[in-house]
């Protein structure tokens, strides 16, 4: 099939960006979307042009590196699918495809389609953990976890940290990501001692990163490659509300230790 691509090209964080149009034929329906871009890049290299920079790594939908808005939809038209797992059979000959990076204040563009998502790491550093030192764990089966609780925690824990929720949210909010991380740990018995410290620390860290607020559009859920439910946002809101009545002082840091993108 033959495609017309409009791809966002931006040399660096401070440079102005623009769409560049590329015509591409020889696209095969069994290719993944990224393989289609590989083909384009090989052509660009052959023509002496700079290839399109995009984040990708595992190419099997789990590392969360790939990040493209395809015709206005984060990760493209197929639900619950990362860009790398999206295959060209979902497009047809003659399609015009706009490819943009995640757009959010908290995710500055590094180059072309690559953005800096270290904000997510800083949120985790603020409280996305259970403070258990190596070696101090009790025997694993001494903490029974009801199956439904474990399953629900796993639903939340499936988050791959790709940032599609932020990209899809009209407000550039990170609520689904943070809610998934908070819920995963706050649901489990192991996570109870730090439950309220955690939610407060992580919500405040999210605030510092200048993400937007939740308007309950549910665009995040629709874009999430793991189909994580917005009900976790409700769960986080509940814990945050309850944290108001609890004494919570957290000793967690603010993740100044990340050598972050300096653009």
């Amino acid at each position: 099939m033959k495609l017309t691509l409009h791809i966002w090209r931006q040399k660096g964080p401070q440079e102005p960006g623009r769409f560049v149009k590329y015509e591409l034929d020889k696209v095969n329906e069994h290719m993944s979307f990224l393989e289609m871009l590989d083909v384009l890049n090989q052509e660009l290299i052959a023509r002496g042009e700079e290839p399109v920079a995009f984040d990708h790594d595992c190419r099997e939908g789990i590392c969360g590196a790939c990040s493209m808005v395809i015709n206005g939809i984060a990760h493209g038209p197929q639900r619950a699918t990362t860009t790398c797992q999206l295959h060209m059979r979902h497009f047809k000959d003659g399609d015009v495809i706009y490819i943009e990076p995640w757009r959010a204040k908290a995710f500055p563009i590094v180059k072309d389609l690559i953005v800096d998502r270290s904000a997510f790491d800083r949120i985790i550093a603020a409280g996305g953990f259970i403070s258990v030192r190596t070696g101090s764990a009790p025997e694993a089966n001494s903490i029974p976890v009801p199956k439904d609780v474990a399953e629900l925690a796993m639903d939340a824990a499936e988050c791959i940290g790709c940032g599609a929720c932020v990209a899809a949210c009209p407000n550039g909010a990170a609520m689904l990501f943070v809610a998934a991380k908070v819920s995963h740990l706050n649901l489990l018995p192991q996570g109870q001692p730090e439950r309220f410290i955690r939610v407060k620390a992580m919500v405040e860290a999210m605030e510092r990163e200048q993400f937007g607020s939740c308007s309950n559009h549910r665009e995040c859920e629709a874009a999430c490659p793991k189909g994580i439910s917005v009900s976790f946002i409700a769960r986080m809101n509940r814990d945050y509300r309850k944290a108001l009545w609890k004494t919570v002082e957290h000793q967690g840091g603010k993740a100044e230790g990340i050598s972050q993108f300096r653009g």
Partner: protein, 637 residues
């Protein structure tokens, strides 16, 4: 090159306890004076960084990904082994140890493997406490599943995303230390060289992948946890960024490289669909618990699989290995699939595939059970192939997956360069010539959580370390070399892209250094690799420049190292005149086509020493002494 494995004395089951009781400790006040560099943030790297930081060491952690959470450990699906014996099915530390040694075809160190089995139970405790949502029974207690190469159910799992959940656990522990300032994190930063001062590993040279800046970092200890090198095949189940550069640079600085030819070809991957293919996707081996592998009995049968009657199907694994059946170890299952396809029974495009059929299990257990166990894998399969595996069997084919070889390490996980520790897939230890399913996660976490925190301390407490800083000559020289190399790659300005070269290299490796190797083929491979490498340095085109984010440049550096490593792999395969585990030399096989080991001549670890560019490397060997286990022909029949 001196190869002293430094295995503690005493009976096997007491060695690790004895080591822990007698190793030297660093006092709490002194720990904060030491700095540790950890390269790689997968299971081994993140767990080591977290655990060492908890102890009070100053840790710097580096990864090439934009976030440490994306290290390729995240893609491990099936599970993690531990000798908990929660199933009361006869498991024990000894049995896990024995199965791992046997699974590795008796090419690993007894003491290391026993220690691995010993700490396996602690890993599960640690991960549960961190909040890893392992699968549970209705009682709330932990669930287990069985896995290839084992006769007991000892595998813990979190749906089909066990690696992800374990990594997120280790990552969260490390990020806690980042928040506390004990770990400094350098994402999108790639290690391009090791700095050795006075014979000790004292730092690394890195390139900031965003700005292109090349800089030096000094420390008292360097830990490499940079994963394996299966991407030498171009098409593998590894992430696109996985590379051998860190370990290869360390090799060229004097670290011995052990058993480079021990590579694992995983039996259950989705077959290649075309020339543009950029990677192969693995379907968890756990699928073999409930799926039956078969091919049509008739060569070149083009009927739909569902139309082929039962008596015209060859369930060849069940036929050839009645006691393990579909759960035969990976090397055996892979080779059997290749053999069936070579003989013309293969299915799908190009006849490179066999069926993995769930129809029986669905009939027996119901679709919902299969869906609960493997739902996400079936979804993934459908996303990639467009086929519904609940209705028609999956097609699978082997693909390069894991490398048992790696930098040689002693019992303390220290390489032949003092102060350079190697953990996880990057080292050679524990898995011998073949790794069993669900053992990689176990090893990575064992190394990082429970072994390095002791052995690094022991090294520091026993070693006199001069003060170093990055303005010293050794650092400046190493940095200059890296800068020159980057310039060189950019200056070739030829016609062919890095990927073209990588693909061509991969083809040579797959055809001649893959699942079945011969002397003639390996010799041919070496000649062809050298020729291709020459071409690479004359005709590669790396667009862009060195002073910003340049993905082609990153790839070029990695492929350049793969070119050198691949030759060593072929050479090691050539020298190992026996078949064992994943290394299958066609000249050495039993009459019924199984691997024929040569324990008299090859019960050793082959360790390669770099002697200079253009000079042949020197092969050393560390004899493997089996005090407890009796060497036996591995049989899964």
């Amino acid at each position: 090159m001196k190869l002293d494995p430094r295995i503690p004395a005493g009976p096997l089951e007491q060695k690790w306890t004895r080591y822990k009781n007698t190793c030297k400790l660093v006092s709490p006040a002194n720990k904060r004076k030491y700095s540790v560099i950890v390269v790689g943030t997968g299971l081994a790297g993140a767990s080591a960084a977290a655990s060492l930081a908890e102890l009070g060491y100053n840790v710097k952690a580096f990864c090439y990904q934009d976030s440490p959470r994306r290290a390729h450990s995240i893609a491990a699906q099936g599970g993690i082994n531990a000798a908990k014996n929660y199933q009361n099915d006869g498991d024990s530390v000894y049995r896990l140890f024995y199965e791992t040694i046997k699974g590795g075809d008796f090419r690993s160190r007894e003491a290391n493997v026993y220690r691995l089995a010993e700490v396996s139970a602690n890993i599960i405790d640690q991960c549960v406490a961190q909040g890893v949502p392992f699968a549970r029974e209705y009682s709330g207690y932990l669930a287990n599943r069985s896995f290839g190469g084992a006769l007991v159910s000892r595998t813990f799992y979190a749906r089909g995303q066990t690696g992800q959940q374990l990594l997120l656990g280790a990552y969260s522990a490390m990020m806690r230390q980042v928040g506390l300032g004990q770990v400094k994190l350098y994402p999108r930063t790639e290690m391009l060289d090791l700095v050795v001062v006075n014979g000790q590993a004292r730092g690394i040279i890195v390139r900031d992948l965003v700005t292109g800046e090349i800089s030096a970092h000094a420390a008292d200890v360097v830990i490499l946890a940079t994963g394996g090198y299966a991407n030498v095949f171009y098409l593998s189940t590894n992430a696109k960024g996985c590379n051998a550069t860190a370990i290869w640079r360390a090799y060229k600085r004097g670290a011995g490289f052990a058993n480079p030819c021990f590579m694992q070809i995983h039996p259950t991957c989705i077959p290649q669909s075309g020339e543009y293919q950029s990677k192969l996707v693995l379907m968890s081996e756990s699928l073999r618990n409930d799926g039956r592998v078969w091919v049509p009995k008739k060569k070149g049968d083009t009927r739909k699989p569902t139309e082929i009657p039962e008596d015209e199907r060859d369930y060849y694994l069940e036929r050839m290995y009645p006691s393990y059946g579909n759960l035969a170890p990976r090397d055996i299952a892979s080779r059997a699939a290749k053999r069936m396809c070579d003989e013309g029974y293969g299915v799908g495009p190009g006849g490179r595939g066999v069926y993995l059929d769930f129809a029986d299990s669905i009939r027996r257990l119901g679709k919902h059970v299969i869906e609960e166990r493997y739902g996400n894998l079936f979804e993934m399969y459908e996303r990639i192939t467009g086929e519904n595996a609940y209705e028609t069997p999956m097609r699978i084919y082997p693909a390069p997956h894991y490398t048992m070889g790696g930098l040689w390490v002693d019992y303390e996980l220290m390489s032949t360069i003092p102060g350079l520790f190697v953990a996880g897939e990057a080292n050679f230890s524990d898995h011998g010539a073949n790794r069993l399913g669900a053992s990689a996660l176990m090893q990575g976490l064992a190394d990082g959580y429970f072994i390095l925190p002791y052995t690094v301390g022991n090294y520091l407490a026993n070693t006199k370390l001069e003060k170093v800083d990055t303005s010293q000559q050794a650092f400046r020289d190493a940095q200059k070399e890296v800068e020159d190399r980057v310039k060189k790659l950019l200056s070739v300005n030829g016609k062919r892209s890095v990927d073209e070269f990588h693909r061509a290299l991969g083809k040579i490796m797959w055809d001649l250094v893959g699942m079945a190797r011969t002397e003639a083929g390996l010799k041919e491979a070496i000649v062809r690799i050298r020729a291709l490498r020459e071409e690479f340095w004359q005709d590669v085109r790396v667009p862009g420049d060195a002073s910003d984010l340049n993905q082609e440049l990153e790839k070029a550096g990695r492929v350049a190292d793969f070119f050198e490593l691949s030759e060593l792999i072929a050479q090691d395969a050539l020298e190992r005149r026996e078949s064992c585990g994943g290394h299958f030399r066609e000249e050495f096989q039993t009459p019924d086509g199984e691997a024929q080991r040569d324990d008299a001549n090859f019960a050793h670890v082959a360790v390669w020493e770099f002697t200079g560019d253009g000079k042949p490397p020197v092969r050393h060997s560390e004899p493997l002494v089996f005090e407890v286990v009796e060497l036996a022909q591995r049989s899964y029949k």
